[in-house]
């Protein structure tokens, strides 16, 4: 099989398109171009092979969802839940992304060159989410682990109810969420962020604010009643 394969998105939808992508990858395709994606939902979900998938346009909801190894690039924008529950591989979006980008992702790298809507990195369990633009409200909500790096600004309620996720923001933060606190990044943080950005050829030579959990909501005991009453 040739290394590059073109797949047209059917006008009726994507049903079983992902099976076709998996079949092509299993047959040895190194690169698959999805032509005329028509902003369809569920493009390139549940892929396991380390194949390169190029979506030649915009995608709808859950693009690259449940990804477990593919390297997916989207030429334009994506809808809700891009890269949700991704465990490995990568998803690079050249344009913007809507709500819940990288929701509950566990590994791999997700890069959005433009802006993200609300709840970017919500419930993340690992991996790296890089947003070159700005993020909307409640980014990093209940983020368990992993790194959310924002080169632009962050909206309201950043890092609400964080667990052990780390959020780095270069621009302005409109407001912090419950139990989120800004701490001074140390040298290790800077090295970490710059290394993660360098993996995607992004210049990270500017200062970041680091946001982590203050841990006042981690223990449901009477000593934290005041903290719990706020929410």
């Amino acid at each position: 099989m040739s290394t590059a394969v073109r797949v047209e998105v059917d006008a009726d939808g994507v049903e079983r398109l992902n099976l076709e992508l998996r079949r092509l990858a299993a047959e040895g395709a190194a690169e698959i171009v999805v032509k005329n994606p028509r902003s369809r939902h569920n493009l390139a979900v549940g892929q396991t092979a380390p194949v390169r998938i190029l979506v030649d346009g915009s995608a709808g909801y859950y693009c690259g969802g449940l990804n477990a190894g593919a390297h997916i690039e989207v030429a334009r924008n994506v809808g809700w839940g891009a890269g949700e529950a991704m465990a490995a591989g990568s998803l690079v979006v050249s344009g913007g992304a809507a709500l819940g980008t990288g929701a509950s992702m566990r590994g791999g790298a997700l890069v959005v060159r433009g802006n993200c809507g609300p709840r970017a990195g919500v419930c993340m369990k690992g991996g790296t989410l890089i947003v070159e633009g700005s993020v909307g409200y409640a980014a990093g909500f209940m983020t368990h682990a992993g790194d959310l790096i924002v080169l632009g600004d962050a909206g309201e309620a950043l890092g609400d109810s964080l667990w052990e996720g780390r959020i780095y923001v270069a621009g302005a933060i409109r407001s912090l969420g419950n139990d989120a606190v800004v701490v001074e990044p140390d040298d290790e943080d800077s090295a970490r962020v710059h290394a993660l950005l360098a993996e995607h050829a992004i210049d990270g030579r500017f200062a970041f604010k680091k946001v982590v959990a203050e841990q006042r909501l981690w223990y449901f005991t009477s000593r934290n009643a005041e903290a719990w009453l706020r929410i």
Partner: protein, 452 residues
């Protein structure tokens, strides 16, 4: 009137129905803690229940089957209506499976025992929200993988190992709130599966991170089908609240089965007021769910599963007669395992309770080793002995169901219908549209007007 307490015991106890001893204790506990009280088990409210219905076996106008000789079919299929989208529907030998209870809420021995017991009965278990425990996958012939808003341990490989996928929109024990697992049970293994710090008081999200309403959920279901090759059924679990409307929206998502989880449903930990004051009883939820599906022309296509306070075969048979295709049980199976058994009584006493009244699942100090992550307590539950007891209980449950069905003249438990029932309370008649016993009139709109 005498003010002598001996002459009037009610006066001596305090006779206020507003400021009862329970309310006084609750206020004083809140004053100590600075928060609402949290506990496990089910509601302590007295709701009109399935006990308010009775069966009408055949007499002169119906012919019963021979209860101890003739066969009554119990096989049940979940998600069998749409082969184009579900190549492998979930086929059960009996219309009873194990509801979602997480590893975390339960210990690993309990999960294994339940999986073996239900597998021997030809039925299924559900992972609950803590992710897929390898021991449970191995022990369960049919395993439903649960996807909750917090997405703990959500994994493509596990989705593909599942025999069905259940998306939780809400649970009857605590509608409108997420899971709760107190730090005593967030062991290293539990925390690892959930990507949490060890020992934190885990509170879970209630809203899913990547969809909000029915239209979005429809896309989500398509995603799961794409990821799992259109193999397994997708179940939506709903807390029973605005059932008529909620079930209609759920049905429009393209799911294969819907669970309505009534207010009697249990939990390992919830704010007490949630347990006691939210959601509607299972008795009211089943007819409303049936009506919703009938109005959409989807009754008999989308599988309707009832849960919440189903205790035995008679409850299960009543649920089927009202319109459910299947029931899911939780607490009944735990009690079969040994929950609230009179063993290790001193440990019940240390919790301030007693066998038969324990509701302390939230503490992780389960005296019989079921709802705990403490290795010493867990060792009190032998998975094989537990499996035997669970299997026995399921056998008895199905015997009850089939005997009732045969007494009503049915060769298949799924042929039970509302006409086989009568209500013995005004509330039950009003909730269900089933006529009152003896007088045969219905409180409120009747079966025909309700479309039941």
């Amino acid at each position: 009137m005498s003010r002598d307490g001996n002459a009037d015991p009610g006066y001596a106890r305090g006779r206020s129905h507003v400021w009862t001893p329970e309310i006084i204790r609750d206020i004083q506990a809140k004053a100590d803690l600075g928060r609402y009280q949290i506990r496990g088990f089910s509601t302590f409210q007295r709701f009109p229940s399935l006990d308010d219905l009775v069966f009408l076996p055949g007499v002169m106008t119906r012919i019963p089957l021979e209860g101890y000789r003739e066969h009554c079919e119990t096989s049940t299929v979940i998600g069998g209506h749409d082969p184009a989208h579900v190549s492998d529907p979930l086929e059960l030998a009996i219309p009873v499976y194990l509801t979602s209870m997480s590893f975390g809420a339960l210990g690993a021995n309990a999960k294994q025992a339940l999986a073996r017991g239900f597998s021997r009965a030809g039925s299924a278990t559900c992972t609950g929200e803590g992710g897929m425990l390898p021991e449970e996958r191995e022990a369960s012939d049919r395993l439903i993988y649960q996807m909750t808003p917090s997405r703990y341990g959500l994994d493509l490989e596990h989705l593909r190992l599942a025999d069905a996928i259940e998306i939780v929109i809400g649970q009857g024990a605590k509608p409108g709130t997420g899971g709760l697992l107190l730090g005593m049970k967030v062991s290293e293994k539990v925390a690892g599966m959930r990507t949490l710090p060890v020992g934190v008081d885990q509170r879970s999200a209630v809203r899913h991170p990547d969809f909000l309403g029915g239209d979005d959920l429809q896309v989500k279901i398509e995603e799961l089908r794409e990821a799992t090759d259109y193999r397994v059924p997708i179940i939506l679990k709903l807390a029973a609240c605005r059932v008529l409307e909620d079930v209609k929206v759920a049905a429009k998502t393209g799911c294969d089965a819907i669970v309505v989880d009534g207010a009697e449903a249990s939990t390992a930990a919830a704010p007490e007021f949630q347990l006691d004051h939210t959601g509607i009883p299972t008795l009211a939820a089943i007819p409303a769910a049936r009506r919703a599906l009938e109005e959409l022309g989807l009754y008999g296509k989308i599988t309707l599963i009832a849960s919440g306070g189903i205790r035995n075969g008679v409850d299960a048979a009543k649920a089927l007669a009202l319109g459910a295709d299947c029931v899911a049980i939780g607490t009944a199976a735990l009690v079969a395992l040994g929950c609230n058994a009179p063993r290790y009584v001193e440990d019940y006493e240390a919790l301030g309770t007693a066998p038969g009244a324990c509701h302390h699942c939230h503490t992780g100090r389960c005296p019989v080793g079921i709802t705990t992550q403490d290795p010493e307590l867990e060792a009190r539950l032998d998975p094989e002995e537990g499996a035997r007891r669970v299997h026995n209980f399921l056998t008895a449950t199905v015997m009850e169901m089939t005997l009732i069905a045969k007494s009503c003249g049915k060769r298949n438990v799924h042929n039970l219908e509302p006409e086989d029932l009568r209500a013995v309370s005004l509330e039950a008649s009003a909730f269900t549209g089933v006529p009152l016993a003896g007088v045969d009139w219905v409180v409120g709109p009747g079966l025909n007007e309700r479309g039941v």
